[in-house]
Amino acid sequence: MDKTPEQINQDLLRPIYHASWRFYASVAVLAALVLAAFYAWGYQMYHGLGVSGLNRPVYWGFYITNFVFWIGISHAGTLISAILRVSNATWRRPVTRCAEAITVFSLSIAAMFPLIHLGRPWLFFWLIPYPSERGIWPQFRSPLLWDFFAINTYLTGSVIFLLLPSFPDFALIRDRSNGWRKKIYSIVSLGWRGEPKQWHRLEMAMRIMAVAIIPVAVSVHTIVSWDFAMAPVPGWHSTIFGPYFVAGAIFSGIAALIIAMALLRKLLHLEEYLKPLHFENLGKLLLVMSLLWFYFVFAERLTTWYGNFPSEMSVFWSTQLGRFSPLFWTMVFCNFIIPAPILAIKSLRSKIGWTVVAAVPIVIGMWLERFLIIVPALSHKYLPYAYGTYRPTWVEITITIGTFAGMGLLYLIFSRVFPIISIWELKLGMQRKAEAAPELASQEAATEQP
């Protein structure tokens, strides 16, 4: 990168100061969709959950699918960014903040779904252990309670992880602004002066957070998988679910990150910052996760088939050849057959357009995967007399669309408030490269430009 620091400032801070009519138009459209989702939720609260397509025995449907899906997307961020930081991958610098923001927003969206799906959402706070007039604590044996704590921990951690490296950039905006903007950014930069002591503490805190957030992220999706694995439902009660869900989460997270980065690159004109190299490196990670995902699905299916328990086999056949098989095979196409060859071929992987072509079906496929874990199993519990099926209504569909719109809306607003690429980390990377001995610089260049 041959830009001067001032050029970088101008390029990356431009969205903070200027917005085109396209920005306002997209905000309006997305906000309308989000409002529609809130209307649907209000309608459901007023009339009762009966307005959704849920029934007995399929008590969980689109809402829990969305919950698991968005938790999965949230692993994009913090986990990828943390791993890249810990492994000191120098190419990560322009990628981390987009990723961390995805985490915070998708996790906030995911955390709404357990509330949306509750029969009496106004009583959700009964999950919080507080001394109450009811005289009981929550049930600590319930995986839903583990979920509650895991998600809150992860949300807190990922917000800190996003904000910590933002302070120097907030201070930069503060120093370059006047009026109301200066006031706001003075407050949010928390008195950042760029003193050596502050830099030292920031580096230290980031090093601790990057290591600490990895086990938190792994545990969150493991616990989400235990919501299913701890119940004696055929197709759910499986030891493989923890790692299977974590791998799937990272998989869908990277795919979402690639899509978000491609959009940002186009919309904010970041062509010189988010380069094909970044997409190719993420594409390699995505290829690994695609193979891993296929391995998990294959292992899970094969053990079920060999086990040959009647109750599990009815779930198995309904997904392989029965009612749910169109969705199942679409999922296999989306998650493996389309992306794996694209990402395996170097000439395709090194083009941004092709990585996006590989990433979009993965997001769809991973949503289907969560649906296929939840609904076929509940439709075919033990007693054939109590078999059922599930068809969502407009309420669930509106809320689902609304969450995708909400993600876009939050991300759009974020890109106007935060520099979407961490400016100081980018400059630091350039500085380190310049200061290093020539042979080291050439080495780094070799790793950066294959």
């Binding site: 009966g50 509750l118 029969g119 009496r120 009811r134 049930q139 119940a231 439902v233 007399y385």
Partner: protein, 235 residues
């Protein structure tokens, strides 16, 4: 020793008349769903008659199996409830505390017998059913789970009466609505802790089986499977 309520259902005697289903609805103020909602899987029968057909037409045999909450000793529905709405009461019943329930429906998923019912709407009764509500049983609002209680209101009433009269509860002195209304006497209710009670003796029968016993839920309902004579008769 306290009570441990259990039931025996004789599949040989069940004719599938569904009197138990009607009695249960009347006793427990179970709302009717209506045909449209029933078709969408919103029907609430705390006890249902499962019908299974064996053989090909015209040589068909029908099997009836009344299924209600099995009141498991190791109930999968209990540990998954985050608010203790689903809990094990001192007499071994899987009690559902309606006002603790926030409607996660996790218990309904965990139950292998699919005998837990969610209130998708506030309860309504077609006229004139609204005039026969049982004052001893609370109505359940929208958004919570409900299930068979073994007619706990009758159990409690009998216990209180016995206590007031300073005597022990007698076997067969009271019954849940389904047992009371069974015309063939296929269902027997009583205290499993009393080795001499009818339900204890029948549950030790050679014909006794538990529904989905392989899941290790230790149900307190015993099914007496059909005797060998059944096959002989129809062969």
């Amino acid at each position: 020793m306290g009570h441990r309520w259990g039931m025996v259902i004789d599949e040989d005697r069940c004719t599938g008349c569904e009197a138990c289903v009607v009695a249960c609805h009347a006793e427990n103020n179970i709302a009717t769903a209506g045909d449209k909602e029933a078709a969408r899987g919103r029907v609430k029968h705390w006890i249902r008659i499962e019908r299974y057909y064996e053989g090909d037409f015209p040589d068909v045999k029908v099997k009836f199996r009344p299924v209600l909450c099995q009141q498991c000793d190791a109930a999968p529905c209990e540990p998954v409830c985050p608010t203790y709405a689903s809990y094990h009461n001192p007499e071994g019943l899987n009690a559902q505390i309606y006002n603790r329930c926030i409607g996660t429906r996790y218990c309904g998923n965990a139950c292998p017998y699919t005998v837990r019912f969610f209130n998708f709407f506030n309860p309504v009764w077609d006229k004139p059913l609204n005039l026969q509500l049982n004052p001893d049983v609370s109505e359940r609002s929208v958004g919570i789970m409900e299930k068979c209680t073994f007619c706990i209101e009758r159990i409690k009433a009998a216990e209180i009466k016995a206590q007031a009269e300073k005597r022990e509860l007698r076997d067969g002195q009271f019954n849940p609505a389904c047992v009371q209304s069974c015309p063939t006497g296929a269902m027997v209710f009583g205290d499993l802790n009393d080795p001499a009670s009818r339900v204890s003796r029948l549950s030790r029968s050679d014909r006794g089986t538990k529904l989905l016993a392989e899941l290790g839920t230790y149900p307190k309902v015993t099914y007496l499977k059909r005797g060998a004579w059944h096959n002989g008769q129809n062969a």
